[in-house]
């Protein structure tokens, strides 16, 4: 997959604190989740990419442009939605988005038209002439999304795009992100703590901790990588489930739990072991009614990888 962002050995200090410690990653086209605990360096990386904070060393290449040399071209091609609420006193959403569109280089007429369209697109058609200082958190997130989108950037950077939203607004924003990614081919980088949001919208992830990349790649392959040893759950009929669990243990299966189902760990690629499960059942007059692998969530992967990274350091 073609990369839109190539970051190599990025270093950024705040005095003696190392915020980015040789951060290296490739961000492919499509929707990517940027994950990490508080203080991992996500916002620092975003600000370095936008030229707001200068970095000490390393390189960032965005669509062939190199930073900091090509910062003006890079700024024109990125739309940024910051985590914090951004407000200008006594200004309507329409005026705010129009103004930010002119700051991104649109003419006044084009800016007005685009502000009108994008506010409508994010679902603020009714409220666009209201003072944005009276907006709810969900509406503010939508104004910020419209602001990031208004100049039709090649890359959208969304920092906690659903923070503080009620369930309805949360759902609407995730739908908008999915729509932009799937139907309009937008490249989106989502920095968030809400891992289910990333699981739902992103196709790849970068997990960082203490200014370094912990793991990166396609979401599916990252989840699969973890699944090399999978936790299998089976249900049987035609006999006692405890007896079947005992038979599995006798045949060197590592049974972890027995309730209505039996859970045990098994290597994903070990076909012989799978066959032996059916053999044990058949030899003891039992039938396997259900066999399913426990699905690891991104949260499991995240917590595991961060814990591993903490221990290594």
């Amino acid at each position: 997959m073609q990369n839109i962002l190539v970051i190599r050995e990025l270093v950024k200090n705040y005095g003696s604190f190392l915020a980015l410690d040789g951060f290296t990653c490739d961000i492919p086209k499509g929707v990517t989740g940027l994950l990490g605990p508080n203080g991992a360096g996500k916002t620092t990386f975003i600000r370095s990419l936008l030229g707001i904070l200068p970095f000490e060393s390393g390189s960032i290449e965005f669509l062939g442009y190199k930073l900091p040399k090509d910062i003006l071209a890079v700024k024109d091609k990125i739309g940024y939605q910051p985590e914090v609420d951004t407000k200008i006193l006594k200004v309507s959403a329409m005026k705010y988005v129009t103004h930010m569109a002119t700051m991104a280089g649109l003419s006044r007429n084009a800016a007005k038209q685009r502000a009108f369209d994008t506010l409508h697109y994010v679902g603020l058609e009714e409220a666009r002439y209201r003072d944005m200082n009276d907006f709810s958190q969900g509406m503010m997130q939508k104004v910020k999304l419209a602001t990031a989108l208004v100049h039709d950037p090649a890359l959208l950077i969304l920092d906690e795009p659903t923070a503080g939203c009620d369930p309805d607004a949360h759902e609407q924003i995730l739908n908008l992100i999915s729509d932009l990614g799937s139907n309009h081919g937008k490249n989106i980088l989502i920095a968030t703590h809400l891992l289910p949001d990333v699981e739902r919208t992103a196709s790849s992830v970068v997990i960082m901790n203490k200014g370094k990349t912990v793991i990166q790649g396609e979401l599916r392959s990252i989840l699969q990588k973890k699944d090399k040893i999978i936790n299998l759950q089976i249900r049987v009929n035609g006999g006692d489930i405890n007896k079947f669990a005992k038979l599995l243990q006798e045949n060197n299966f590592e049974v972890t739990n027995v309730t209505e189902t039996i859970s045990f760990n098994i290597e994903r690629e070990d076909d012989e072991k799978y066959l032996s499960i059916f053999k044990i059942a058949r030899n003891n007059g039992m039938n396997i009614r259900m066999m399913t692998a426990y699905q690891q969530s991104l949260e499991d992967v995240f917590l595991d990888e961060i814990a591993k990274n903490q221990m290594e350091n």
């Binding site: 707001i52 200008i88 930010m100």
Partner: protein
């Protein structure tokens, strides 16, 4: 029309508001700075009701000054150039303590344009929000994601300089031209006078603009910046005058009072070096020649102006370049 075409036209409205790409041209970067200046000027007018009232008062006073200028021939036989210079210089002076006059004969020719207190209040109220409001509204980060720091700062400085010039340059140049017109003089003979007004307006708009912007970026709330700005001029003028009166022989001490400094800058820009200072304790006029090689000289005033501009610019640049993550 086929059924598909009919359906398509009936859904045009909906289609319009799905996400659409933008294929228009982007404006050159200097135009974005102009857009920022325009936005700041409009929002400054919109934000403070008190400032609006003050601006209306200032414009009304300026209107009466212009009327007065039209009646100038009624003044009789006075030194025209001294009248003009003194009137221009007193526009921004705070009439609190010792004043500087365009002659040393004890006669004040000022036509009553002294709107210093009001103008300082208006400038303080207008400029105090330029950075403080952005910090409070957390929009600096959004601006800097689209503009580079120098464009952002240029937009802000440009806006405050234009704002101050609307309040200072326009009334002064109109009044000056009407003075000359009403005296039946040829405008061509007064080009240096007009140039002096422009130079003075430009310099004080840069100094006052940078000063209020520095306060705006240093403090958390716009109200604090306005207050500090006004108090600096008010008490600075009183304290400066007291220091000068402690040692009236040291002409350089005149530069301490902000009001006197603005007066001196006006006279120097207008090329008037033969001045007089009123000593408030003894009620006498003391001669002040800015081109006699003794004490305060005209180039001292320019030098202090340049130093002020440099120091304020450096503070502003440092604060913008070293913006903390909390301020973004």
């Amino acid at each position: 029309m086929t059924e598909d075409q009919k359906n398509s036209s009936s859904t045009d409205y909906l289609q319009k508001f799905t996400y659409r790409s933008y294929d228009g041209e982007l404006q050159p970067r200097w135009k974005r700075v102009l857009y920022l200046i325009r936005f700041e000027l409009i929002s400054t007018w919109r934000k403070s009701k008190f400032a609006k009232v003050l601006i209306i008062i200032v414009l009304m006073f300026s209107f009466f000054s212009i009327l007065f200028a039209a009646m100038l021939p009624l003044l009789g036989d006075v030194v025209i150039r001294d009248v003009l210079n003194e009137s221009i210089a007193n526009y921004l002076a705070l009439p609190l303590t010792n004043s500087i006059f365009s002659n040393s004969n004890g006669i004040s020719y000022s036509l009553g344009l002294g709107l210093g207190i009001l103008l300082i209040m208006v400038i303080g109220l207008a400029g105090s929000g330029f950075f403080a409001d952005d910090k409070r509204g957390k929009v600096i980060e959004i601006y800097l994601s689209r503009l580079v720091k120098r464009e952002y700062v240029t937009g802000k400085v440009g806006a405050i300089v234009i704002y101050i010039n609307i309040l200072v340059l326009l009334p002064l140049i109109i009044t000056g031209m009407l003075f000359v017109q009403s005296l039946g003089e040829d405008h061509a003979d007064y080009l240096d006078f007009y140039f002096g007004i422009i130079a003075y307006s430009l310099l004080i708009s840069i100094i006052l603009g940078l000063f209020i912007l520095v306060l705006s970026i240093l403090v958390e709330k716009r109200a604090y910046a306005s207050l500090i700005f006004f108090l600096f001029f008010f008490f600075g003028t009183i304290i400066g005058a007291m220091i000068y009166e402690g040692d009236p022989n040291n002409e350089l001490l005149l530069l301490i009072s902000p009001s006197n400094f603005l007066l001196l800058l006006a006279y120097v820009c207008l090329g008037d070096y033969d001045l007089g200072v009123r000593n408030n304790e003894e009620y006498i006029m003391v001669e002040l020649n800015l081109d006699n090689g003794v004490g305060l000289e005209y180039w001292h005033v320019f030098l202090v102006t340049i130093i002020y501009i440099l120091i304020l610019s450096l503070i502003l640049a440092y604060k913008i370049w070293k913006t903390t993550t909390e301020e973004l």
